[in-house]
C-alpha cells in the first residue's frame, strides 16, 4: 500500500495537469465568491441571508476542476492505455484505487484549503462591515462551514474518481459527475410537491453537501450541515465501491 501510494503520488506530481486544475479551483472559487459578495446587497447587519454561505459560493464553480481532476486520475490512464502498465506493476487493484483516492485526497485537501481560505479572505475584503463579524474563523459555525467546504471538495473528487473507474472514459465520467452535481438541484426545483423536493435535495450530492456551509437559519434546511456532508460522503463511498468492484472484475 505504501509503495502504491508513493507511485500514485509520483504520478500526480510529475504532470502539470493536477497543479493547474488545483490552481483553477482556487481561482474559480475566489473570483466567483468575490464577485458574488460585491453584488450582494449587504449592510452592517448582514446580507439578507447567510454571509458565510455567500462568501463560499465560489465552490459551485471551484468544484468543477476538482471533478475533472478526480476523473482524470483514472480516466486519463484508460484514455492512453497506461492503466495496463499500472495494473501490471500493481496487480492488487483495490490497492491501486485506494492509493489513487489517498493521493487525490491529499492534493485536493491542499488546493481546497487554499481556495476556501482565499474565498473567505476575499469576502472579508469585499464586505468589511458584514464580513468581519460573520467571516471570523473563531466563530464556530463559520469554522465548520470553512472546514466542511474543504471536506466537500475532497468528497467531490472521490466521487469523480469512483465514477471514472466505473465508466472508464474521461468525457463520459465528467458528464455523469457534473450531471449528478448540477442537474439534480435543477430538477428538484420543478417538483411542486414540497416533500418530494426536500427529499431530492437531501439525496443530491451537491445540495446536501453544501448544507455544511449554512451558518444561519439551520432549522429551515432540508438536512443538517454534517448530515448533509454525510450524504455526499455516502455518494463518494458508493461510487468508489462500484468503481472498485468493476475494476476488480473486469479485464483491464
Amino acid at each position: 500500500m505504501k509503495r502504491a501510494l508513493h507511485a500514485e503520488w509520483t504520478k500526480m506530481r510529475t504532470v502539470a495537469g493536477p497543479l493547474w486544475l488545483l490552481l483553477g479551483t482556487v481561482a474559480a472559487t475566489v473570483s466567483l465568491s468575490a464577485v458574488a459578495a460585491s453584488l450582494a446587497n449587504c449592510t452592517a447587519t448582514g446580507c439578507g441571508g447567510d454571509t458565510a454561505k455567500l462568501a463560499l459560493v465560489g465552490v459551485y464553480l471551484g468544484q468543477a476542476p476538482v471533478a475533472i481532476l478526480g476523473v482524470l486520475v483514472i480516466g486519463g490512464e484508460y484514455g492512453s492505455g497506461m492503466i495496463r502498465t499500472t495494473l501490471a506493476a500493481m496487480p492488487r487493484r483495490t490497492t491501486v484505487l485506494t492509493a489513487k483516492a489517498v493521493a487525490l485526497t491529499g492534493s485536493v485537501a491542499v488546493g481546497g484549503t487554499v481556495a476556501v481560505l482565499g474565498a473567505v479572505l476575499a469576502g472579508r475584503l469585499v464586505l468589511p462591515d458584514a464580513g468581519d463579524r460573520a467571516l471570523s474563523l473563531s466563530d464556530g459555525p463559520t469554522l465548520r462551514a470553512v472546514f466542511g467546504t474543504v471536506l466537500y471538495l475532497i468528497l467531490i473528487g472521490l466521487l469523480s474518481l469512483g465514477v471514472a473507474a466505473a465508466v472508464r472514459d474521461s468525457a463520459t465520467g465528467i458528464g455523469v459527475v457534473l450531471g449528478l452535481l448540477y442537474v439534480v438541484p435543477i430538477v428538484s426545483q420543478t417538483i411542486s410537491d414540497p416533500g418530494w423536493r426536500r427529499l431530492l435535495e437531501k439525496m443530491a450530492p451537491m445540495t446536501s453537501g453544501l448544507a455544511v456551509q449554512a451558518t444561519t437559519d439551520l432549522g429551515s434546511l432540508p438536512i443538517g450541515p454534517w448530515a448533509g456532508l454525510g450524504v455526499t460522503a455516502g455518494w463518494a463511498i458508493a461510487t468508489l465501491l462500484v468503481g472498485g468492484l468493476l475494476l476488480r472484475t473486469r479485464d483491464a
Binding site: A36, L39, A40, N41, C47, G48, G49, D50, K53, L54, V57, Y60, L61, A64, P65, A67, I68, V71, L72, G75, G79, D169, S170, A171, T172, G173, I174, G175, V176, L178, G179, Y182, V183, P185, I186, V187, Q189, T190, I191, S192, D193, W196
Partner: protein, 509 residues
C-alpha cells in the same frame, strides 16, 4: 496534359468544392460509432423521462380551481368588495381619502409599509365569481390612478398619492358594454382615464368599492400585505339599485391568493357614504409567484439539462476522440482544407442533435402536459405557436450546445476539459440565479451574457408591469426575448467554431 485533364475531371465529379463528400464522410464517422448514437437516444429519452417525472410528481388534485380570466389566462381575483347589484346604465362616484398598507415583519408584528400596487377604488363586475369580467378605476400605493379591465389591461391616470388633505375622486360611467373611468382632484373637473368594452357584464352586475393588497416584494421572496382605505361620498346615479351595501371577500380560498397576514381579515365599517375598508389580494393576471402551484412548459422540459450533458459529451468526443487516437491526421490528410472538416463535423452534429432533441421534445411536451393536467396541475397557457417555438427551440438549444462542445473540444483537444467548460458555462449560471442572495440584477446579467441565456427559448411566461414580482430567470422570466437568448448561445458557438477553425489550420495535427 492528359493527367491534368483527368485530375480536373475527377475534381468535377466529386462536386464543385467537395463539401458534400466531406459531409458524407463525417456522417459515416458519426453513425458508425455506437456510443454516439446511444448518446443521442439517451438525450431524447432523458427529455421524455423528466417530462414524465415532472408530470407524475406534481399532485394538485382537490385544490381549489385556479381562477381563469376572459383571455383564458390564470388570474388573481381575490379582494374585499363592498357591493350591490345595479342594473341599467348609470354612474358611480366615490372619494378616496386614505390608502395605508401594512406588511408583517414577523409573527404578529405588522408594520406600516409601502405596497406599490395596493389598490382602492370603484369596480363594476359581472358577479363575485372569480374570473368574471370587470372594469375598475382605482388609486394605488405608488402608481397613481389606474383604470384596469379584463385583468391584463392597465391604463395610467393622474399620478400622486392620496391623503386626507388631497383626496382623490373616482367615477365609473356605464353605457351598455362601455365603461369609462374618470378621476378628479376637486369633484368639479374630471379627467377621463380610459374606456373599456367589457362584454358579458350581464343584466345586473355588482358595483361598488374594493380594496386589494398584493404580496409585497421582500428580498428574494414575497410577503403578504393588507391595506385599508377610507372612502367617502359613495353615490350611485341612474341605474336601479336597492341601496344596501354588502361587504364580501371575493375568492377567499384560491391557489392565486395566499390569504391575509396572521391576525388580519377583510372588513368594512362606517355608514352614510363614509366607509373604511380593509382588504388583501389582487385583481390581476397571475404570475409565477402568485400561482406557485402552476406548471410551465419549461418545467416539463426540465430534462433539457440532463439531455445537454449527453449531447455535450457526444459533441466534444466527436473531435477529441480523433485527437486521442491520432485519427485526426488521417482525417486531415484526406481533407487538407481543415476548416471545411470542422464545418462538416459541426453540420452533421447539429443536424443529428437537432433531430434527436426534436423527437424528444415533441414527445415529451404533450405527454408531460397531459400527465400534469391529469394530476390537477394548472399549466400556464401557451398558444400552439409558442409551443412549437419551445419545442423547436429546445432542439436547437441542444444542437447548438453540442456544436459549442465540438468547437471547444477542437480548441482544447481534451474531452474532459471541453465537456466541463461547456457544461459549466451553460448550466452553472442557471444554478447561480437560484441562490437566495443573488440579486435580480446579477441574475438577469448572467442570463444575458452567458451561453445559458439560451434557456430563454423555453420561456412561456409573460411579465406584467402592473404586477410586482421577481421576474427572474429562476422564476421562468428571462431578460431576453426567446430567440434573442438563443442567439447568445449561437454567437458563442459560432465564435468558438471560428476560433477552432483558425487553430486547426495553424496547429500541427
Amino acid at each position: 496534359m492528359i493527367s491534368v485533364v483527368t485530375s480536373r475531371r475527377a475534381g468535377q465529379r466529386v462536386g464543385r468544392d467537395g463539401f458534400l463528400e466531406v459531409l458524407h464522410a463525417e456522417w459515416t464517422k458519426f453513425r458508425t460509432v455506437r456510443g454516439r448514437l446511444i448518446g443521442m437516444v439517451v438525450a431524447a429519452m432523458l427529455l421524455l423521462l423528466f417530462a414524465v417525472l415532472t408530470g407524475v410528481s406534481s399532485h394538485q388534485k382537490g385544490a381549489p380551481p385556479v381562477p381563469i380570466g376572459p383571455g383564458s389566462e390564470p388570474v388573481t381575483d381575490s379582494f374585499y368588495f363592498v357591493h350591490q347589484p345595479v342594473s341599467d346604465n348609470g354612474s358611480i362616484t366615490v372619494s378616496v381619502s386614505a390608502l395605508k398598507s401594512s406588511i408583517p415583519k414577523g409573527p404578529g408584528d405588522l408594520r406600516p409599509g409601502l405596497v406599490p400596487w395596493a389598490k382602492a377604488g370603484l369596480i363594476i363586475k359581472q358577479s363575485t365569481r372569480q374570473g368574471s369580467p370587470y372594469a375598475a378605476i382605482m388609486v394605488t400605493g405608488a402608481h397613481g390612478v389606474r383604470m384596469q379591465d379584463a385583468y391584463v389591461n392597465d391604463t395610467a391616470g393622474p399620478p400622486g398619492l392620496v391623503s386626507g388633505e388631497s383626496p382623490r375622486r373616482l367615477r365609473l360611467d356605464r353605457s351598455g358594454d362601455m365603461i369609462t373611468g374618470y378621476a378628479s382632484a376637486d369633484g368639479a373637473h374630471w379627467t377621463k382615464v380610459g374606456t373599456a368594452r367589457v362584454s358579458g357584464l350581464g343584466p345586473t352586475p355588482q358595483i361598488g368599492v374594493f380594496v386589494a393588497s398584493p404580496p409585497a416584494l421582500d428580498g428574494m421572496g414575497t410577503a403578504g400585505s393588507v391595506s385599508t382605505a377610507v372612502f367617502a361620498d359613495l353615490r350611485v346615479q341612474g341605474g336601479r339599485a336597492d341601496g344596501r351595501w354588502t361587504g364580501d371577500q371575493v375568492g377567499p380560498r384560491s391557489p392565486t391568493f395566499a390569504g391575509y397576514p396572521d391576525g388580519t381579515s377583510g372588513s368594512v365599517t362606517g355608514s352614510d357614504g363614509r366607509l373604511t375598508v380593509t382588504g388583501a389580494g389582487d385583481i390581476a393576471p397571475a404570475v409565477r409567484e402568485t400561482l406557485p402551484t402552476g406548471g410551465t412548459l419549461r418545467e416539463i422540459l426540465t430534462g433539457t439539462f440532463a439531455a445537454l450533458i449527453a449531447v455535450i459529451v457526444v459533441g466534444a468526443l466527436f473531435i477529441t476522440a480523433e485527437y486521442r487516437t491520432k485519427m485526426i491526421r488521417l482525417t486531415l490528410a484526406a481533407n487538407p482544407r481543415r476548416s471545411r472538416v470542422l464545418v462538416a463535423k459541426a453540420t452533421v452534429l447539429w443536424a443529428v442533435t437537432f433531430a434527436a432533441g426534436l423527437v424528444g421534445a415533441v414527445l415529451a411536451a404533450p405527454l408531460g402536459e397531459r400527465l400534469a393536467r391529469s394530476n390537477g396541475v394548472h399549466l400556464f397557457p401557451v398558444s400552439s405557436l409558442t409551443e412549437l417555438r419551445v419545442v423547436c427551440g429546445t432542439a436547437a438549444l441542444l444542437a447548438t450546445a453540442a456544436v459549442l462542445a465540438l468547437s471547444v473540444g477542437a480548441i482544447v483537444r481534451h474531452s474532459a476539459g471541453a465537456v466541463t467548460t461547456v457544461l459549466v458555462a451553460i448550466v452553472l449560471p442557471y444554478i447561480l440565479t437560484a441562490l437566495p442572495f443573488m440579486p435580480a440584477s446579477a441574475a438577469n446579467w448572467l442570463a444575458r451574457v452567458t451561453p445559458g441565456a439560451a434557456f430563454a427559448v423555453q420561456q412561456t411566461l409573460v411579465d406584467y408591469d402592473q404586477v410586482a414580482s421577481h421576474y427572474t430567470p429562476y422564476n421562468g422570466y428571462y431578460p431576453l426575448a426567446p430567440w434573442a437568448g438563443f442567439a447568445v448561445l449561437a454567437a458563442y458557438a459560432v465564435v468558438c467554431l471560428a476560433a477552432a477553425a483558425v487553430l486547426l489550420d495553424r496547429r500541427d495535427a
